[in-house]
Structure formats: structure tokens, C-alpha cells
Subunit: 200 residues, 2 copies
DNA sequence: GTCTATAGTTTGATAGAC
DNA sequence: GTCTATCAAACTATAGAC
């Protein structure tokens, strides 16, 4: 009898090709804009003809979908691997900072993650699930500080993204709103009634 | 000699046609999305053939440009005609409310005013000027309350738009973030050190 | 799995008659 | 100022050979 190999080299290469395509799509998005991603250009960069992409993705939207999932998956990993400070106020600063830095680092990624800029594109539930988990993670972390009401969490998310949006929209590549991260976090902490930092 | 007429009926009708075209474009944008506005569909609604639009606008972007100018002009008018409350804290609530209601009332308009969702479209300086004036107006009004530093104004604008963005992105047509308008305004007032409302 | 060839569609814009 | 006719281009997607 033939022993079943414990690695599927075909599947591995297939997955590698998919990753290559997605990476090329990100490159195009960053250089020319998210909506300007074309199959021809993506294919050109991976050394294929456009129709060959259909061996790996069912449609162009499927590529966007994979990019969406990857982006939110990356952010989830960033959040999960990091260890926020113990103190609630310090943690709040940390949450805002991590979100701000991640979001403002890549405009195309921000547009895909947080805006509906691609006509007709709606992420599939599977692609969307990392985003849901991120929000649940935030909810859980805030709950440890006694922040449990939906409206409190909603206030946080709105203020978080407002800051990053303003930075990208009005001063891309700059620091004008980045300088307000700590202050904004403290403002939220005040409003939520988080305990003051002990002074020594 | 011929007396010069004091009304140019041709110019008036021309202007009326332009307005009609812009209105049709808004209708399409609201029904199908801002990026899905096509000259054919706009023309159809005003009873023209697509090429006829070029008698009134030099390009499709010129239509977007006029829409952009109109949207910010409308908001400027709303802000200028309104009389905010005297008290700083009440005024802050008022500012946020006006912005929130105007922005969330029309997603397509919001995308055109505040996001860069149309590939390649950049508003002309003339179209942009109402937006600048709105910001200057806010700056002036905040200055009356002693809020003069750029970073204070930046904080306000970021929080304002964050709230409206969250509403449109996560609960369009709903009220989940609308309920946070007053609270958010108060949070800003606290942070800016605005005087407390006198209690009776 | 990649290719060539091409279908099929949509779109912005121009030329020129009236 | 509006029309018809048409261009020119771009794009996604499919069919079928290899």
C-alpha cells in the first residue's frame, strides 16, 4: 500500500501562488489605488496572463475578499500578540495607538477594511469574521476595566476611527492627528470614568 | 440704440439646465452609488442623450466637481444661517448635531464631501473653497470660547466626523451613534475646559 | 495550471449634421 | 444646444487547446 504523504506539496504550492497574487494586488492597490486594481496588472506582476488568475480565484471580488480577510487577520494578530499595559488608562492609550498606527500605515488597506470604496464588493462572512473577533476582543478588554455598555464601546470605536480617518484624509503621511492619540485616549478614559493613574 | 436687457434669459435657462443635470446626478448617486453615476443614466433622466451633457459640462469630473461644490455650499449655508446657542457647551452640542444630521442624511453626499471614493477625482480649488470657509467658520466660533489652538480644533473635527462615519458605516439609517451626539460634545467640552452649564 | 483568443459589456468622449 | 453615429479603450470573464 501507498503511505499517504503527510505534506501535500501541490496544495502548498497552490497556496503560495494565491499568496503571491494577493501580494501583487496589494502592490497595485498601494501604487495606483484600491479601485484601480485590474486583473491584467496583477497577472503581469506575477508573470501570468489575466485569465490564469481564474485558476486561483473565482472572480476579482474573490481577490478583494481574500485581501479583506488578510488585512483584518493581520490586525487581529497584532492585537492578540501584543500585551497591553495593566493600567486601564495606559491600556486605552495603547489601544488607540495600535489602531492608529496600523490604520494610517496603508491607505489602500484602510479603504478596504473600513470603507465601502469598491462598487459592489461586500466581504463574505468568512472574510468578515476576523473583524468581528477584533471587535469582540476590544469589548472583552474594555470589560475588564468595567466598560461594558454598548454605547461606551461604540463611543470608543467612533473616536478611534475618527482620529485615523482625519489623519489619512487631511494629512496623509504626516503626524498632525497622530500627536493627538494620547490626549484622545485620555479624553475617552475621563469620559468612561477610568481610575486615574497613580502618581508617585 | 438697443437697450441692454437687464436679464439674460439664455444664461438663466442655461443655469437651470445645469442645475437639472446636477440634481439628476445626485438621484443616480443616491440610488446606485456615487461611483455608479454614468453620463448615459444622468442624460436619460433629464431627457437628453449622453453627449448633450458636454454642452453643459466639460467632463464627468466637472459634474462631480459641481456636486462637490454644491454639497459643501449647502452645508456652509446651513451653518451660517443657523444661530447656535450662546453658551459654549450648548453650542458645542449644537455644532456636532448639525454636522451629524447633515452628514448622515445622505451617504452619497458624504462620500463625495469627505471621502476620496471617486478614482482620479480631485475637487478644483473653486469647488473646495466652501469647505475651507466652513472650517474657518468653525475655527472662528470656537475661538469665541477661547479654543484657538490648532490641535484643539483638529481634535474637534476628528471626533465630529468619527461619529458620523461610524453611524453611516455600521448602522446606516439607524440611530446608534446619533444617540451619542450630546455625550460626545460634552466629552469634548470637558477636554477643552469649556465652562460648565450653570445649574438653576 | 497556464496559455491564446475572444466574447460581451460598459463607459467617457468626439465629430459633425441640423 | 441637441442629436446620431461612432470611436477608443478598458475591463471581467469564458472557451478550449496544450
Amino acid at each position: 500500500m501507498l503511505g499517504a504523504p503527510n505534506r501535500d506539496r501541490n496544495a502548498e504550492r497552490r497556496e503560495a501562488t494565491r499568496a503571491e497574487i494577493i501580494e501583487a494586488a496589494w502592490d497595485v492597490a498601494r501604487e495606483h489605488g484600491l479601485a484601480q486594481v485590474t486583473l491584467r496588472e496583477v497577472a503581469r506582476r506575477v508573470g501570468m496572463q489575466a485569465p490564469s488568475l481564474y485558476s486561483h480565484f473565482a472572480s476579482k471580488h474573490a481577490i478583494y475578499d481574500a485581501m479583506f480577510a488578510q488585512a483584518w487577520g493581520d490586525y487581529r494578530r497584532v492585537v492578540e500578540e501584543a500585551t497591553p499595559p495593566e493600567h486601564p488608562r495606559a491600556a486605552m492609550r495603547y489601544f488607540v495607538r495600535v489602531w492608529f498606527d496600523f490604520t494610517t500605515a496603508d491607505l489602500a488597506r484602510h479603504q478596504l477594511m473600513n470603507q465601502r470604496t469598491i462598487p459592489g464588493f461586500v466581504p463574505t462572512p468568512e472574510a468578515y469574521s476576523p473583524a468581528v473577533e477584533v471587535l469582540e476582543g476590544l469589548r472583552a478588554r474594555l470589560a475588564r476595566f468595567g466598560v461594558t455598555r454598548d454605547e461606551d464601546v461604540d463611543l470608543c470605536t467612533a473616536v478611534f476611527s475618527g482620529l485615523a480617518d482625519a489623519q489619512l484624509a487631511n494629512d496623509p503621511g504626516g503626524d498632525r492627528w497622530g500627536r493627538l492619540v494620547d490626549r484622545t485616549a485620555d479624553m475617552l478614559s475621563d469620559n468612561l470614568g477610568l481610575p486615574a493613574l497613580e502618581q508617585s
